[in-house]
């Protein structure tokens, strides 16, 4: 308590105590308590249905609630009239890409409307508009109708509109979900800059675990509960353990053994990651080597656990993880000998799709092998879903060709179509039917012979771990299990090629891992070719190969490791540094010629060719300007670094054309 007493003397901007929100029978939040201090960026992290939105709306005074208390700026929010008293000092941006904006109005008209509503004087409005538009680089698009902006631009406009009356507390509900990584970086930089300039407090929610380091303090939420809260370091400190990363050729055998002992085992591409709780790195590595005696370990590395590992460990600790089902890696699932993993299952060649006024997919080419997990990574609106729709024959391409399982999907016979499985973004499940009834229906639709139906259903139930919920209604299942049911429905006819459109969007980390376990089994053991789309950078690491999509184009296509290596060769290594004050440091670095320096939470990332030379130069440059360099370390690039670099590269190329 002692070391934080300086900050705690100020009353918190927001004080939530035992907050309870119910929607009819459903409890969305169940006893949430937290304090948000003046001037901090406070994060709410959790999957869909964790209660984040309900809490944020209640704090913003736009949702009534059933229990507990909320104080904002010392005002108890217990009635509509009470909420009105603080609304002048609040800015609230609800969830959804640009959904709170007016599509028919131009960028400027949207801003002007918010300003008029908030009674901003014309002089102040002109000044703020100029500043915010320059910051967001929206000044070139003043007259463009909002509906024609890209997802990232919509989100930045939303931020400008929320900030136009200079609120003291801003509440942003999932502002970065589905936004491309460059816009996401811009977004965070703008937010940080604005918060530093004035004494503004921000409450921001996100579904991305890897955004945690951007918050001073945060609450991890799950099922209406706060599972942990505090600074990211503090939360990690509460869950001691080591993350061991293994490279093993006989991946399936190793997985089987590791899963018997550890609860947090994950196959990430060609690697296996194991969270070993409570022990030192040496002990963890020794434990694993002992467990895997007889299996050749090509590489073993220990790392600091990520927040996601801590979150999952906490969910297990609080018994919120649900029941563990039998490991799918031990099951044999399809009849006969599965095709060996060399054939090419999916080919996309120069696929083009034009909509009314823009090109949604622009000459996209790639190949997916049998037994491979191939990921299309990109923001909302990048064209991922359209590619899948063209390959599955749902939408005819404007140009180019696609073959799946050796047949052109435009002319494919029903028998070919029955060899592929497709799980669409929107749930295609029948909510009023039980798990078994849904599976039986899909088996019939896909033409599974009558005698085999029961057997097939039993197998996919086992595979997807649906045994305990067999007789429940699909609509009553939690998100994670429903996702697995949708997968089971896509698998019931034993397809060789599987298309999954954002299968894990909004699912909690444990649910996501279980889902991936099934996918890895399908690919490794059954040699099913899997094409999936995602906007989670961290999830993309699981894929064997990746195509990065941006604005309809594939801007890079390789294995995750090769993508990172290529970045290091082309642009150099990532330097990760912390400095105080961080914004002056960022500005100084940009002046020094490090144009790609970007803010990453309270740290700065930049790409350098020569680490030693750059480190020395940065030290000197910053000390000349009285900026304290706290630490500076080279770091392996993440996929996000790769993606950001490739998008900027693409934009530069297009600008020079």
């Amino acid at each position: 308590m002692g070391q934080t007493s300086l900050v705690n003397d100020d009353p918190p901007v927001v004080r939530v105590r035992e907050f309870v929100k119910r929607y009819r029978k459903l409890k969305a939040a169940d006893g949430v308590s937290l304090d948000i201090r003046c001037g901090e960026i406070y994060g709410l992290i959790g999957p869909d249905g964790a209660g984040k939105s309900s809490l944020m709306k209640a704090i913003a005074g736009v949702l009534s609630f059933e229990g507990g208390s909320i104080e904002v700026f010392g005002q108890t929010i217990d009635s509509e009239a009470a909420a009105e008293k603080v609304k002048g000092r609040l800015g609230f941006m609800p969830q959804g890409l640009g959904l709170n904006l007016y599509p028919e109005l131009s960028v400027e008209e949207n801003i002007d409307f918010f300003a008029e509503l908030r009674e901003v004087t014309p002089v102040l409005l002109a000044e703020r508009k100029r500043k915010l538009l320059a910051m967001t680089r929206l000044d070139r698009f003043l007259d463009r109708p909002m509906k024609l902006l890209s997802g990232g631009m919509k989100q930045k406009l939303g931020l400008v509109c929320t900030l136009i009356h200079e609120p003291d507390l801003i509440i942003l509900d999932e502002p970065t979900t589905g936004v491309d990584p460059v816009s996401r970086r811009d977004f965070w930089t703008i937010l940080t800059q604005l918060l530093r300039e004035r004494d503004v407090t921000a409450l921001v929610s996100t579904a991305y675990m890897d955004e945690a380091e951007r918050f001073q303090r945060l609450s991890l939420m799950f099922g209406g509960l706060v599972v942990a809260k505090g600074a990211p370091e503090v939360i990690l400190h509460d869950v001691p353990g080591t993350l061991v990363e293994l490279t093993i050729a006989a991946q399936v055998d190793a997985l089987v053994r590791l899963e018997k002992r550890f609860t947090q085992v994950e196959a990430v591409g060609s690697k296996i990651k194991v969270f070993v709780p409570d022990v030192t790195p040496q002990a963890a590595s020794a434990q694993i080597q002992e467990l895997l005696t007889g299996i050749k370990i090509e590489q073993i590395q220990v790392e600091k656990p990520r927040l996601e590992d801590a979150f999952i460990a906490l969910l297990h600790r609080h018994h919120l993880s649900g029941k563990e089902e039998d490991s799918p890696a031990e099951m044999v699932w399809r009849d006969g000998v599965p095709p060996r993993g060399d054939g090419i299952a999916i080919v996309a060649r120069e696929l083009i799709c034009d909509f009314d006024h823009f090109r949604a997919v622009d000459r996209v080419s790639f190949e997916v092998r049998q037994g491979e997990i191939f990921g299309l990574l990109g923001a909302n609106g990048a064209g991922k879903t359209t590619v899948i729709k063209m390959l599955t024959g749902i939408r005819p391409p404007t140009g180019g060709a696609g073959t799946v399982a050796g047949a052109d999907m435009r002319r494919a016979s029903q028998s070919v179509k029955e060899r592929i499985g497709y799980m669409s973004q929107a749930f295609s499940l029948y909510q009023d039917m039980t798990v078994q009834e849904n599976l039986r229906l899909f088996a019939r639709i896909y033409g599974v012979p009558g005698r085999q139906i029961s057997e097939r259903i039993d197998r996919v139930i086992q595979l997807a771990g649906l045994g305990p919920v067999c007789t429940q209604l699909a609509g009553k299942l939690p998100m994670g299990i429903r996702q697995r049911l949708a997968l089971a429905c896509a698998l019931v006819h034993g397809p060789l090629v599987l298309f999954l459109d954002e299968p894990t969007s909004g699912v909690d980390p444990i649910g996501r891992r279980r889902f991936w376990k099934i996918l890895v089994h399908l690919a490794r053991v059954e040699h099913v070719a899997i094409l999936l789309t995602t906007h989670y950078m961290s999830e993309a690491e699981h894929c064997d190969r990746l195509a990065l999509m941006h604005a309809g184009k594939v801007i890079a296509d390789d294995t995750p490791a090769a993508l990172k290596t290529a970045l290091e060769q082309e642009a150099g290594q990532v330097l990760d540094l912390a400095a105080e004050p961080v914004l002056s440091a960022l500005e100084a670095l940009e002046q020094a010629g490090f144009t790609d320096a970007a803010l990453f939470g309270r740290r700065i990332h930049l790409l350098v060719k020569d680490v030693d030379e750059a480190t020395a130069r940065i030290r000197a440059w910053l000390s000349e300007r009285d900026i304290r360099l706290l630490d500076i370390t080279p770091r392996a690039p993440s996929l996000e670094d790769v993606f950001v670099y490739r998008i900027l590269q693409q934009e530069r190329q297009e600008a020079t054309l």
Partner: protein, 384 residues
């Protein structure tokens, strides 16, 4: 009330409507097309009823009888048939709606003083048209009878034909149609249709406009800002009331010019009463929008709460006075009936404020109740 915020909301709404081509055309094209479709479609006058005859007598008298039908504008002669057997298929095919069969020795029997029955077959599938047809047949038949009687009396008593006919028909009804001298049903229908269209379109537009904002989440801008409930509702609905006022003028012009109904009342009074009526119906849309979450639900509900009362309980099809007490009571609950009286009074009867102030007051109360209820139901801090 802060006029700047009201204006901000109204201006934003107006520009959204104007930019959204589909919505804008919905606002003006739909009322006009409803007027055209129903105005030309609902014709309650029964004329040109197709009919055929079977004349077994083929005498001068039988031809005289039949010509009364053939020459009438209410009937359209389709031809002579050889026998009764041919009637069935024609009736079944709807090529004729009526058949007249003259028995053999029609003239001879009549001249001998024996009564004769003429079989007349009428298509009974549409009761309204059937009863009109029946009325015409009876009238023509009665006229023929009284002429025959007149002829007979004149011959028997040796008095002039005129006097004889008056003796045969001592009482005659002298009819004069008030307000709609030519009893053109299109006059009454076009005017009442104006009530119907202004009952349906304003709530539709309003409900869609408000629910759209709820559905896509931009309503949270309103919830989270300092704009008050009243300011929002007034600003939001002002453009819709404005559109409806334009529609009043367009429909008025159509009724008067296109359908030729005479306007005999006070234009200013009628205009103001109509404005109160659309404020009232806009309020219905607002209330609907507060009860539902999606645009589809808003449309369904608007249809139910507006179409049914405006068709059944407005006097459009059935006069209120001919309803049973329960129906009359229900009719008084809906604003449609009052405005129907105002329209008919202003157009055809030429009465004004002195006779119709009660109806206007009823509409005004209705509008106040609807808007107050909506204001009380609209919350910036809802439960979900």
């Amino acid at each position: 009330m802060n006029s700047r915020r009201i204006f901000a909301v109204a201006y934003k709404e107006w520009r959204e409507i104007v930019r959204d081509r589909l919505f804008l055309s919905l606002a003006f094209v739909v009322p006009v097309s409803l007027m055209l479709i129903f105005g030309y479609g609902i014709n309650l006058d029964v004329e040109h009823i197709p009919f055929a005859v079977v004349d077994h007598d083929k005498s001068a008298l039988s031809r005289d009888y039949l010509h009364r039908y053939i020459d009438s504008r209410y009937f359209a002669y389709q031809g002579d048939l050889a026998s009764e057997r041919e009637i069935g298929p024609l009736l079944a095919d709807s090529r004729i709606r009526l058949a007249i069969i003259i028995p053999p020795r029609f003239e001879e029997n009549l001249m001998a003083g024996r009564s004769v029955a003429i079989q007349t077959l009428i298509d009974g599938t549409f009761t309204f048209r059937t009863s009109s047809s029946k009325g015409y047949v009876i009238a023509i038949n009665a006229a023929f009878n009284s002429e025959l009687l007149g002829n007979y009396i004149s011959q028997r008593l040796g008095i002039p034909l005129e006097t004889a006919r008056e003796m045969a028909q001592p009482v005659t009804a002298e009819l004069r149609y008030m307000y709609n001298q030519e009893i053109k049903s299109v006059w009454s229908i076009a005017t009442v249709l104006m009530m119907f269209v202004l009952m349906i379109t304003p709530p539709f537009l309003t409900a869609l406009g408000v629910v759209r904002e709820k559905e896509n989440g931009s309503i949270y801008n309103i919830y989270a800002s300092t704009v008050t409930r009243g300011e929002f509702l007034i600003g939001k609905l002002a453009p819709y009331v404005g559109i409806s006022i334009l529609n009043i003028l367009i429909l008025w012009l159509m009724v008067a010019r296109l359908f030729g109904a005479p306007f005999k009342g006070d234009p200013l009074f009628f205009f103001l009463a109509s404005v109160i009526y659309v404020i009232c119906t806009t309020g219905i849309g607002l209330l609907v929008s507060l009860l539902v979450r999606t645009q589809v639900a808003a449309m369904m509900m608007t249809v139910v709460v507006t179409v049914v009362p405006s068709v059944l309980y407005s006097g459009l099809l059935v006069p209120i006075a001919s309803m049973d007490p329960a129906g009359q009571f229900e009719a008084h609950l809906f604003p449609a009936m009052y405005y129907t009286d105002i329209i008919l009074g202003s157009f055809l009867k030429g009465v004004g404020m002195e006779q119709l102030w009660g109806k206007v007051l009823a509409l005004l109360i209705y509008a106040i109740v609807l808007w107050t209820a909506s204001f009380l139901m609209f919350h910036k801090r809802p439960k979900s």
